[in-house]
Symmetry: C2
Subunit: 412 residues, 2 copies
């Protein structure tokens, strides 16, 4: 079996030293590997399909997919073809191109609740825009958010409070995911000032088991919004296009008023989207949001191709199949090694914790061994399965995870 | 002389009708042509060098440069070569690539005040991050901003108040650009809660003549920050790399503590940057800001190539020369047509108003005629000269502007 540690991180170490001189803390945000086992490289070189390589040439099966953006695999030929064609014409210009209209038409025809679309760059742009639209529509201020949920890194929502003022958060009221009564109580607290209820399609907070929504929870949030006139905002940034071809709550029969999208919608190209209902269109026109690159055509061409491939090749079913095979295989391995594990989340976005773990110590041993064996996953963040995963990839990944479970068992 | 109106906007009209069904208001943000003369197309097809084409095939000399991002011209060969090379490897991955370190090294070596760099996507990301760093560093809340200045479109800074709460703005205090006493009075008002003073390198508010900063104004803002411990934030999003090869206030000898960059730094690829001093590095580490596409390598490769070309080919001098020729030529034309005009701003980012204008009526006639004649400029927003402009482009543009001045004179 390979051991990436043999040749690892020589080039990476040099880049880290250089980075420490010119980037705060050597790296920042979710792509800093501080706090991860030493086997995680800080710098990568390339990707292809379901495989990625670090700067020292070590190869990995990619189970993080750039934390979500890579849906069809790196360098998907149909996406790259659409990108090359559009790039030869134009990207960021004085106005958008026809791609923007085509993409808005595609999204509104695919996503049940969507009558219109706006585009932006970051997931944070999309969630923030949803909140502004809800406030413009209602003339109210308060927004309900689930405790511990991640909705971006602007001052109103970033998980760390350094640099944030009390005023940035004063209009948020927290509820507990999958606890409709707590949301109803929070709405009571907001009184006649409730502008919106924000919710993610599944609970995917960092470091805890994922939770699928109770249908009653979703239905009651919808009813709460209907009763109060607040907007139900679905933050589909992380889940969008991984759970189904439309909005992620369509299978529940619960339609939001607004939804925020980003990550996977352009297979790695920088794009975000806000979708909404006709009732909120006037408010969407009233607010002023924009960005120098929001109208750029190349990511929109990438998104059009991505949406086409997702549908034609039934990518969600493929990810579900591969994710299930991986999960079932790993669950059997854990049992064989006498380890208690909990798999949570949809198989396309799986997460695994160890029952007896304390402070992710076992998860650290496991992920360190997985990385050395050439499987890139994360000890505290959910993983992502791409449409490029093959049965051979799953089989190879399982060879590595078996050794990683053995390492965990040996460390007990 | 060409008249783009002859063949214009057939395709554009069809796209507008489709857009009106799926995009709020048919378009939003700074790229909506609502409020511009009818000759402005809403949809463009392609660009090359200093020329752009709309979806009906009409050709224009581009004096808007995508509202700033296009610095070297559309499809600059050296940038496109760097992009192709990097795109073949990877763009958005699980970590950044070596390009991020190289780019941080390049910025910190070029920009005098910069000891470190962070990267993001939007100008708004960059200005917002600067404010958060200043607040984290000082433990204070208040930020001084010039009345009418544009620093982005997040709730704290967007020029329209729909969807914005009072709390989003409660920690801002306004001063007047080029009026140091008004900034000192605003600082008094903030008392011991002053976190930062934000300022743009020139005054470039929408719809008013641009203003070059009085050196005394800049010096006194610096002294105010030194005295109070607040951070001086230079919003170099729009001007960065158009006025000189480093920060835009270096010629004044005034160094900010933080600077926000975006637009031109990657010649049209989506990238923003925050640069700062060592004294603020700990605060930069303390805050949590990130984005799915912030670490993507292709825009960083584009930026590295852009920075190289800017320096090697002395692009600022070239833009200055072409912008000056354009301005001088237009000023002589206006005089010959008996029209009083005011040119303001650096010649690379010129703006022109008519002395006798009311509500931009004359500017509307002028820009409408310019667009019909194949010169894309804007009646209320400063223009941008790119490094791709040639003397022949200037000469051709002047033929059109002469006719446009004649149209204005005829309409009086």
């Amino acid at each position: 079996m390979q051991d990436n540690a043999r040749v690892r991180l020589r080039e990476d170490q040099q880049l880290r030293e250089r980075a420490s001189k010119v980037i705060p803390g050597g790296m920042y945000g979710h792509q800093s590997v501080q706090g991860l086992p030493a086997s995680y490289p800080q710098f990568m070189a390339r990707g292809d399909g379901a495989r990625v390589w670090d700067v020292d040439g070590n190869e990995y099966i990619d189970l993080m997919c750039s934390y979500g953006p890579v849906l069809l695999g790196h360098h998907h030929p149909r996406v790259e073809e659409a990108v090359a064609k559009q790039a030869a014409l134009a990207d960021a210009q004085n106005t958008p191109s026809a791609r923007m209209v085509e993409l808005a038409e595609t999204f509104t025809s695919r996503v049940e609740h969507a009558d219109w679309a706006m585009f932006c760059k970051n997931g944070t742009d999309a969630t923030t825009t949803c909140v502004s639209i809800a406030r413009a529509a209602t003339g109210r201020r308060k927004v309900l958010v689930a405790k511990g949920a991640y909705h971006g890194s602007a001052p109103w929502c970033t998980p760390r409070i350094a640099g944030v003022t009390a005023e940035d958060r004063v209009n948020l009221i927290q509820y507990r995911y999958n606890d409709a009564s707590s949301a109803e109580a929070a709405a009571e607290e907001a009184g006649d000032d409730l502008a919106a209820v924000m919710v993610s399609p599944i609970r995917h907070d960092l470091g805890v088991d994922l939770e699928i929504p109770d249908p009653d929870f979703a239905t009651r949030l919808r009813r709460l919004c209907d009763r109060t006139g607040a907007a139900l905002i679905l933050d589909d940034v992380r889940c969008g296009l991984r759970l189904n071809n439309g909005g992620s709550w369509e299978y529940l029969g619960v339609q939001p008023d607004l939804s925020a999208w980003s990550k996977a919608i352009a297979n790695g190209y920088a794009l975000g989207a806000v979708l909404g209902t006709d009732a909120l269109q006037e408010a969407a026109r009233a607010i002023y949001v924009t960005g120098s690159f929001w109208f750029a055509s190349v990511p929109m061409a990438a998104s059009l191709a991505t949406l086409q491939v997702v549908e034609e090749e039934d990518i969600v079913a493929r990810m579900l199949k591969m994710g299930s095979a991986l999960r079932d295989g790993m669950a059997a391995q854990a049992k064989a090694h006498g380890l208690e594990v909990c798999f949570s989340g949809p198989p396309q976005m799986p997460f695994m914790t160890f029952g007896a773990d304390q402070n992710f110590a076992m998860a650290g041993v496991f992920s360190d061994a997985a990385m050395r064996g050439g499987v890139w996953l994360h000890p505290r963040h959910n993983w992502f399965v791409s449409g490029a995963m093959t049965e051979a990839d799953v089989e190879q990944a399982l060879q590595t995870t078996d050794a990683a479970f053995a390492a965990v068992a040996a460390a007990q």
